[in-house]
Assembly symmetry: C2
Amino acid sequence: MSVGRETRLSAWIERFAAHFAEEGIPLIGGRILGYLLICQPVERTAAELSQELEASSGSISTNLKYLVNVGLVTKRTRRGRQAAEYRINEKAWTDFIQRKLTAIASVQTLTDDGMRLLSGDPERAMRLRTVDHLYGWLSAELPALWERRPASPK
Amino acid sequence: MSVGRETRLSAWIERFAAHFAEEGIPLIGGRILGYLLICQPVERTAAELSQELEASSGSISTNLKYLVNVGLVTKRTRRGRQAAEYRINEKAWTDFIQRKLTAIASVQTLTDDGMRLLSGDPERAMRLRTVDHLYGWLSAELPALWERRPASPK
DNA sequence: GATCCCTTTCGGTCGACACTGAAATCATCG
DNA sequence: CGATGATTTCAGTGTCGACCGAAAGGGATC
């Protein structure tokens, strides 16, 4: 007997969350992200998320705050509604990825400073130089690559 | 009165270690990396590292094992020497960075699987599609960019 | 084989952080 | 203004991992 679609989707959410857990995003935060990417309708209240994801209201609150903060989730309040509605802000993924790329390239400032401290001793600077060149190239190319990123599909 | 060069270098090592600590590398592991990049002579024993970095022999051992494992440090044993010598393997930084880039791009397999699960419901797949396109582009471009990386300076 | 030195292993401590659930807070509506 | 239904805050718990230092393990020399 085959498993239902919703079952497979929740397994997918779990894989999704697990991936980002490795990158330091709390498990529940990852679940919220995954869930909000594929739920119908697109907006959910904190209470609904708590129910759906079987997580405490406290965890949901903390993680929503974090996700709204980094921009991946948008909070919407409406007059006449006591419950705020949350939804994925798919546009924010570009910034999210860009931060990761710049984080990698940022090592270059570190190696650069090191090279300065070792100026006058090229022998000793050799190892760092190899690393510095690599990061120097990266920090030039990554932003350039990023500029060529395609617009999102219509 | 100005601070000495060695003092500044050890401050640099600390900054270096702090950066990689944010990426999940233990502080002491980062210190070893930074130190081995700029020490003279280039090879050190575990005992020397323990002394220089004021870390316990146990921590040095654990972290060296890890660094050797990921290839960033090379262990060399010599007949007639009871102490092994460790040095930076600056060549391995390319692999190290590549792993980070592929880790970012690997989200594409996740979004791709999600899209498959949502095939037949384009409405519901819209949010994921935006994210999937971005990662799809990345996982095509990043490896291509990487191929164009320059050789290390002679 | 005994000794010496160095490295690895291992038990234990400490601090950080995710998560929970209850209490406090807030907003809306009657 | 009080009641209602939602969210946020907060104290407490458990887990995990980095680090330490002592003990065990391994080579090398004598």
